[in-house]
């Protein structure tokens, strides 16, 4: 153990990297000090991931230098050599060997190709300690990875990074699947590590995480470093301004602390207007002011998600945005899967209500589809996208039935529909012929949403749609959801971000232990109310108990 006393742990100068025509990184600079938590901020496609891949030895830069603890390097030759130097990385995508056990996934790569014999006690202790630190002590280490939940898998990949002797830990969107409690434990661990002189570099699309955790922030825009600031000097708006390059200089260096502390959600005028039963008029597209009849379109009766949980009875009306909240694994995911026909409830009824009030039960996925329920899954790469296919093909895949005449697809007509949709929704800016896998996460999500929206849903079920999407795209998509609601679509909106739910939805159903413990009107509730309900608290104000009826 050699502890070099250095002013900077990592000093990145003038780093550039291109992929064909695209310049992902152009002379980026970054300096991380020992004992600091440093946030790397930027929109999708700003070069964060490229920079992180270079720092972890996955990619080589075209130009520039890396100085690690006083040692100048042109590049790191492999992930293994980065780890040997003390740089440990958790990548944005949760990477694991599905058939291997939790234990094998944690120690993955720590053995050489032919290491012989059993693991030493100290090694096992480190792993046990790391799992305890992150709240995974209850997890069976002999369980194969594919059996774990999304959050547990993400935590295991973090454990894999921290069991190595690291001095710089890089976390690239590594909290996206975690619930509030799991995130807090991780942050406590990171703060403790900081006090021991270790360094952390992380990216997050959750601004409150950035402001709450980081000491300093470096902002990237189009592959270049545009600002580095101490968190005390930064404001939410200032950072967003740097990232987008739009609000130049807006209070970025003024100590706008009030803004940081209050972390106020954006004004929810739109949602307010809708709640009052009026159509929204967004800045983008004024919607024709036809009042929408707010008739119920979806109803559950005594819907039981787990053998031991209380049944859920609720109703969703046309034009309503119902938020679903809850800690990880409290039944909200099962609920949306039941809604979309992907899972059978233990018992109870789930029905779409026709125009005349007739109930049509939802029995399976294609049935749900016929009834106008459209489900946008959470895991884009595995459940949503066809990676090698073009943007157009990904968009049109659900529409071919409309353009099918005697088995011949009328592509011309489909292209026109795509062009119309792309123009009217302003969702898709990429060329329709590009492979979708080359788009950034935000743009992929737009195409995916577009696919389902173009099918004119009656009920749109979305599962954490803005996970890993940059702030400006988020604003655009909020607008889109509001316009859809104004058109009479009922939206079931599952999200892990409370602020987002409070901003966008009309009501929030909070899940706890497999059933809904509270229905909170978004307008009059605070995030404390939501958090309290998430933890199963019976909140007196503004909370109606549902699902407990006889």
């Amino acid at each position: 153990m050699t502890t070099v006393d250095v002013a900077s742990r990592l000093d990145v100068q003038d780093l550039s990297r291109s992929f064909g025509e695209t310049k992902a990184l152009r002379s980026a600079t970054l300096r991380v000090a020992p004992g600091e938590i440093h946030s790397l901020a930027g929109e999708n496609g700003s070069g964060k991931s490229t920079l992180i891949k270079i720092l972890s030895g996955v990619l080589r830069p075209d130009r520039g230098t890396l100085t690690w603890e006083g040692d100048v390097k042109q590049h790191l030759s492999s992930p293994a050599s980065a780890q040997a130097m003390g740089i440990s990385t958790v990548f944005q995508e949760t990477l694991f060997a599905p058939e291997m056990t939790v234990r094998d996934n944690i120690f993955l790569g720590t053995d050489r190709l032919f290491r012989y014999g059993r693991r030493k006690g100290a090694e096992l202790d480190t792993a046990r300690q790391a799992m305890t630190d992150l709240g995974l002590d209850g997890l069976d280490r002999d369980r194969p990875m594919w059996m774990l939940s999304l959050a547990e898998r993400q935590l295991v990949t973090i454990v894999r990074a921290i069991v190595r002797p690291w001095r710089l830990l890089i976390l690239d969107e590594s909290t996206s699947a975690l619930d509030a409690q799991q995130r807090d434990r991780l942050f406590d661990y990171l703060r403790l590590a900081r006090s021991q002189g270790k360094s952390v570099l992380f990216t997050s699309h959750r601004m409150d995480e950035v402001l709450g955790l980081a000491d300093r922030i470096t902002v990237l825009r189009q592959g270049t470093t545009v600002a580095t600031m101490a968190v005390g000097e930064a404001s939410r708006r200032g950072i967003l301004g740097h990232m987008s390059g739009r609000a130049e200089g807006a209070s970025m260096y003024s100590a706008d602390t009030a803004d940081i502390v209050s972390a106020a959600p954006p004004p929810r005028l739109e949602a307010d207007r809708q709640a009052a039963g009026q159509p929204a008029a967004t800045a983008h597209a004024p919607v024709a002011p036809t009042p929408v009849l707010r008739t119920p379109v979806l109803q559950t009766q005594q819907l039981t998600l787990r053998p031991s949980s209380r049944p859920i009875s609720l109703e969703v009306r046309a034009g309503e945005i119902l938020g679903l909240a809850g800690l990880e694994g409290q039944g909200q995911v099962e609920f949306v899967e039941c809604l979309s026909g992907l899972r059978k409830p233990v018992s109870g009824e789930l029905a779409v209500l026709g125009a005349n009030g007739a109930a049509h039960p939802v029995r399976h996925y294609s049935g749900a589809n016929r009834l106008g329920i459209r489900y946008v899954p959470r895991d884009r790469r595995h459940e949503g996208l066809f990676g090698p296919l073009s943007v157009f093909d990904n968009f049109a895949v659900t529409l071919w039935a409309d353009f099918n005449r005697f088995g011949v697809l009328r592509r011309q007509q489909a292209r026109k529909r795509f062009a119309d949709f792309a123009e009217s929704s302003r969702l898709v800016s990429a060329s329709p012929a590009r492979a979708i896998s080359t788009l950034s996460g935000g743009n992929q999500q737009k195409v995916l949403l577009g696919r389902w929206i173009a099918m004119r849903p009656r009920v749109l079920v979305v599962n954490d749609p803005l996970r890993g999407v940059d702030a400006n795209t988020k604003e655009e998509l909020y607008g889109l959801f509001r316009r859809l609601a104004a058109d009479g679509v009922a939206i079931i909106y599952l999200s892990t971000e409370i602020t987002e739910l409070l901003t966008l939805t009309d009501q929030i159903a909070v899940f706890h232990e497999g059933s809904v413990v509270a229905m909170l009107p978004s307008e009059t509730s605070s995030d404390t109310d939501v958090v309290a309900a998430m933890f199963g608290d019976e909140h007196p104000g503004g909370t109606q108990r549902v699902g407990a009826d006889g």
């Binding site: 060997a97 032919f114 012989y116 594919w146």
Partner: protein, 341 residues
């Protein structure tokens, strides 16, 4: 009113960690093991002389190349990402030519042939591995190239089957007292594999097969692992060639290629997914044995070669469907258990 019934109450012994892990890791061999037992019993009923010692040694000798080439192709398949080695059959065939037409005429007739052949197999596999890992050729193309190469080279070097073979090599297909010599070969391979299993190599192999990027970013040297894995496969194929030389008592450039197809059939029968990342060497061995026993049964029933092929095809498809069903049930029961917990 909702009665909570534990549908997954299991015997106590299955919940001890060691047993559970063993069952979980090796559940893929359930179907091939059942097939093996069934085929064995069927053989014992149909041909009573099947169980006699003499017949054993002879049967094992015939079975040996099938099982060894199946094991040889198992390793690359486990490494995932389209991993496969089509060259195992022609390589085994070329080894017979190498021994009968090159080594023996050159005066090498001692047991030194064994290490020479194994090193040849290792190098041949290393070339496959390097073409795939570093030149980044698709495995099916690279090893098809080697398949054609050995097939041509074998008949070029020895146009007519023949040549001479040392006596000790022919005896490898006999028995040492009551023990068929082939068993010794398998025992040696089993010991080597078990030693490897106690170390990190199989874990690394299955991780790379499961998700190559996960293994690479975690620090596994994926390219080196590929080269090593194809080398091991090549060595096993070379040992298959050695045994084959003793069996046919000479060299023959045309004897090898059919073993590639039988090896792939055996792997599928052995419950190993072509996607990689799950399974082990035992699966390939069991599959090879099942394939052989079915052939024995049909040969005894005087079924024509073409009909044997038809029946093999049917058995293969049924076995795959059965594997798929077992896998589906395994996942389903695991997910249901998790939902309760």
């Amino acid at each position: 009113m909702a009665s909570v019934v534990s549908r997954h109450a299991r015997p106590q012994v299955l919940s001890t960690p060691v047993v559970r892990q063993l069952v979980q890791r090796n559940s893929y061999i359930a179907v091939p093991l059942a097939l093996l037992v069934a085929a064995f019993i069927a053989n014992a009923i149909v041909q009573p002389q099947f169980l006699s010692q003499q017949s054993w040694a002879a049967s094992m000798a015939v079975l040996c190349p099938t099982v060894l080439t199946a094991m040889a192709v198992t390793l690359p398949i486990l490494s995932g990402n389209g991993g496969i080695d089509l060259s195992v059959g022609p390589l085994a065939g070329f080894i017979t030519v190498l021994i009968a037409a090159v080594l023996v005429p050159a005066g090498i007739t001692s047991q030194a042939i064994i290490p020479i052949v194994i090193v040849f197999g290792l190098l041949s596999g290393a070339i496959n591995g390097a073409l795939i890992a570093y030149v980044r050729l698709p495995a099916i193309i690279a090893t098809l190239g080697m398949y054609l190469f050995y097939q041509g080279l074998g008949t070029e070097v020895l146009p007519e089957a023949g040549g001479s073979v040392p006596v000790w090599l022919v005896k490898l297909d006999g028995s040492y007292g009551p023990i068929p010599a082939v068993w010794v070969v398998f025992a040696v391979i089993a010991v080597v594999w078990l030693l490897l299993t106690r170390g990190s190599y199989p874990r690394n192999l299955l991780s790379v097969g499961g998700d190559e990027r996960a293994a690479y970013t975690a620090g596994v040297n994926v390219n080196r692992l590929r080269v090593v894995t194809y080398s091991f496969g090549g060595a096993l194929a070379a040992i298959a060639g050695l045994m084959l030389t003793g069996l046919i008592q000479g060299g023959d450039g045309t004897v090898g290629p059919p073993y590639t197809i039988s090896a792939l059939t055996a792997v599928a029968l052995g419950g190993i997914s072509l996607a990689g990342g799950r399974g082990g060497l035992l699966g390939g061995a069991l599959g090879g044995a099942v394939l052989f026993l079915i052939q024995e049964l049909l040969t005894d029933a005087k079924v024509s070669v073409y009909q044997v092929s038809v029946i093999n095809g049917i058995v293969l498809i049924l076995a795959l469907a059965l594997n798929g069903t077992v896998e589906y049930l395994r996942r389903k029961s695991a997910t249901a258990k998790q939902g309760q917990g």
